[in-house]
Every structure is written in C-alpha cells, then in structure tokens.
Symmetry: C2
Subunit: 257 residues, 2 copies
DNA sequence: CGACTAGTTGAGGCCAGTCAATGTTGGTGG
DNA sequence: CCACCAACATTGACTGGCCTCAACTAGTCG
C-alpha cells in the first residue's frame, strides 16, 4: 500500500502523444477463431457465450514498437488482450522514477489496475509490433452479469494478477540478484512453453535496463549475471537471444541463499 | 509473475492448526450498522442492496493475536472484511522463506488472491485480537450479478489491491531503506486518518522484523532507522508507539534519492 | 561513414546485511 | 506484587553484494 503510484491526470511526458489506437473495424477480432482462447478471457466459455464476448470486442489496436497503449493518469475504459507481440507495463513514482512492473505476452489481459480508480495506474508500452483486442470495460461488466462463467474468469484474471504481484514482491524483497534473474528466466521459459513456443530458446524483448528495472537491479548487474550464467554453462547468451542449456541448474538457483 | 508463491495443499507447519473460525451466529454482522460501511465493500450501496449484502455475510470469525484466518494452500471459499483489529498477510516461497505482503486494518477486504486458483495464496495472521466478517465468495458472485453496484465495488477492491501491490513493488525495487520506512509511516498515517484515528500518533502492530520483512529490510536496519528518525526529530519512538513530529520531513524523505 | 543506442567489463565505494552483545518489555506463575 | 523468562529491540563492528562511474565494443540506422 505504500506509494500511490501517481495518478495525476496529465502524463509525465510533455508532448501529447499521438493517439496510438488505430481502430480498424475490418480487423474485427473473433475469440472463436483466436489461437489464444484457451489462455485468454474466453477460457471455458461455451460457443454461445463466446459469441457474446465477441460482441464486446469492438476492435483491435495496433502498436508499433515503443508506442504506448495507455499512460498513467489517463481515463480508464477498456481492458486489452494481447493478440500479437508483447508489452511492458511501468509504474511511476511521483518523482518520476519509473519501474517495469510487468511483461505481457500473447493471451495476457492488461489494464486491470485501472478499474480501481477509473484511471490507468501505469503505462503500457509495446516492446515490438503488437496487436491487442479492446474490450470496453463497461460492456464487459454488463456481460459478466449475464454470463457467470465470464464473470468468474474476470475475477480469476484479476486475482491472478494479485498473486503474480505477490510473487514479484517476494522476489524483490528477499532474493539475491542471481536468484532473481534465474526466477525471471524460468518464468519466461514456462510462459513460452504454455504458448507452444520453445521453452529453452527464446528472444528477450526487453533491454538489460528494462530487465533490471523489473528485477530491482541495475543494467550492469543484469549483464554481468548473464555473462556469469554463460561462463557456468547454464545458458547461452547472444545479445537478446537466450538458450537455456541447463534448466535444472536454473531451478537450483531458485530458492537457494 | 516470477515465483509461484507456493500453493501446495498442506500448510508448512507440521501440526494441524486448530480451526480458528468460531462462527457465532448470534453475532450476525450487519453492514447497515457497521461503522466501516463507507470504506468497506458496501460503499455506495442503497439500503435495499445493503440488506442483500447482509444476507451474504454468514457470520463473523474471531481470532486471537497470532491465530491465522487461513493459510497458503488451503481451499478458498470466502472473502473476509476486517471488522476489528488487524492482520498481516504473508507469502511463502517454495523454500520456506516468508515475506509480509500486506498489513490490513478496519474495513479492508482480504483473501482476494485466493479467487484465482481456488486456494489461498498466502497466510493471514491476526496481529491482535481481531474480528472479521465472512463472505462466501460464491454467494457474493451470485449477488454481484444482480447488483451492479456491488459488482463494481468488488472489481474496484480487486483492482485496488493490484495498484497497492504495484506501489509495494516500486518501493521494494527502487527505494533506499530510509525512503521505504518513510513511505511506510506516511501510508500508515494516512490510513489511520481515513478511519478517524490520529494520523500522527499510533501504535505499530508489527514487530521490527515484520516491518522489515514487509519493506525488504532486516530488523536491525528498521531499528536503526527508527532511532535515526528520532535523533533527527522527525518522529518519537517508544517501542511500538509512534508519534510523528514532522510529517513534512517524512514526505520530503519520500521521492528523494 | 559517423552518430547513436545497447551491451560488456573493470575498479572502487557505500548501503544494508551479518554477527554479536546488551537492554527493554510484557506476560506468567509463585 | 514481584521475580523470572522469553520475545522483542537497540547498538556496534565488520563484511560483502550490488551500485556507481567509466572505458570500451558491437550493432544499427540515417
């Protein structure tokens, strides 16, 4: 509860950013045919309910690398499902300090924290060319009242975000640098696996600085650790390309003083 | 999302803990007459809806200092509203490491993270003699489908927990010890104020170790900082009794390298 | 090709952790 | 009521892990 992650209406940046939400009505999304439907909000919904949910998804937004979907302080009215690409979310302190709070990929729902205050509490920025489904929250709430399964899913996504954050708090509050990075890699690996990608070979979408910010470390420390892991034969690093050679070793690093 | 904060079914402790939930049906709670109704789940509900919500609250549970309301891994089926006293929630890592994740007082809703997995993700322990209202989650969900205002409140509480956690992440990830403790005190002060208590004079319900755990510090560091703040004339400490002498100085410490 | 951003590596310093001794408080039973 | 004990808290001396500062390299894009 400490720290109100700023919610002043005006974004920190001076320039009014170009509206990134290019709604392309032709590109209407359909959960029915979406490959992420088993990981995303529609999970477990019957065909009829699925169609109702489809009707909530107005359009998609496309973001180029570096563009932001929303910023801290902006009015909240929709949740977003990542359909393609990936984003980071960052929270800002009053003094402008910024910290990466999350790394979101296919099937993740983002924007949840805006519900509490009707304003976005953080900023979501595309790490690569990205596409998201836009779900008007008001309509989602309406539909959730009619479709218990959707209601429950919504609650689950909210609650899972809380659990996730608790995990990060544990990481930031009690783990050593080495352990943090190991946890980060194991976690990424697992998430890629669930999405049908290789769990041992993947590309980092974040810079060393962003990874460091996420893990409460400085970029130099992250870089040094990558080098050390490589020297120890645990991983192979080539810039942002990671190949995990000894998953067991990574797991061993986790939960060990 | 790093770190699955353990969810193994069996609690860590060896002994099966005595069921702490002593439901006293005579002590039926009534939101209608509860002093916390403006801070708690009923906020903004009309009289009729309030009565419906009352019907969801089955009974209260009483906890003596040190007793736990639920533990990590136990099946989830209810949310709890703090009616009297206070609790801490702690998350555990697989290796048994424990960290205080939250400090909850009058009007707070706890147990939210259990929704995501149907099992509690953390442990809630009373810091003093405490009373909570028990709200069966299934019935709450049912009612939320009928009462939009309640539905929205539920969402807000979930989302606010997320924002709160983001604040803690910012604290743990990027603040120095001094700043963390200042944030902690300012935050406590504000919460007491909102509840009608003094914002400058209060009693800590946690040990130095628990505070440290919450702030990602060691108990000696917390102790040293309290002493230093006192030497500097910012606060007056007498064990767990805190008197803030210069609130402005605390605010200045926040957001300053 | 030059300018820029991202990443690596080294040297040294500092903040918070660790270890240890001592003081204080609160609850319990005689 | 007081003595006792255990839990909690304070303080000091020392250590070490990560940060800071800095130099250098490797790609990338106009």
């Amino acid at each position: 509860m400490p720290v109100q992650p700023r919610q002043s209406p005006a974004p920190a940046g001076a320039t009014p950013h170009a509206a990134p939400v290019i709604s392309i009505r032709d590109l209407k999304s359909h959960c029915t045919s979406c490959s992420m439907r088993e990981l995303c909000l529609p999970v477990g919904l019957g065909p009829d309910d699925l169609k109702l949910l489809d009707s909530v998804i107005g359009s998609r937004a496309r973001l180029k690398k570096g563009e932001s979907l929303y910023r801290a302080g902006e009015p909240f009215h929709a949740l977003y499902a990542v359909r393609l690409g990936s984003l980071k979310t960052t929270v800002l302190a009053e003094d402008g300090r910024e910290q990466v709070a999350g790394y979101h990929m296919l099937g993740d729902i983002i924007g949840l924290d805006g519900i509490g205050t009707d304003r976005h509490g953080c900023q979501a920025t595309a790490l690569e060319d990205t596409e998201v489904c836009i779900m008007q929250f008001q309509r989602l709430e309406e539909l959730a009242r009619k479709v218990p399964a959707l209601q429950h899913n919504l609650h689950r996504f909210l609650a899972r975000e809380i659990s996730r954050d608790h995990g990060v708090m544990l990481l930031l509050g009690s783990m050593r640098a080495e352990e943090r990075l190991a946890v980060f890699l194991v976690n990424l690996s697992e998430r890629y696996r669930r999405r049908g990608y290789s769990s041992t070979e993947f590309v980092l979408r974040m810079t060393r600085e962003e990874i460091g910010s996420y893990l409460g470390l400085k970029l130099e420390t992250v870089s040094r650790l990558f080098s050390r892991f490589q020297d120890e034969g645990v991983i192979q690093v080539q810039g942002r390309n990671i190949k995990v050679l000894e998953m067991a070793a990574l797991h061993r690093l986790v939960g060990q003083k």
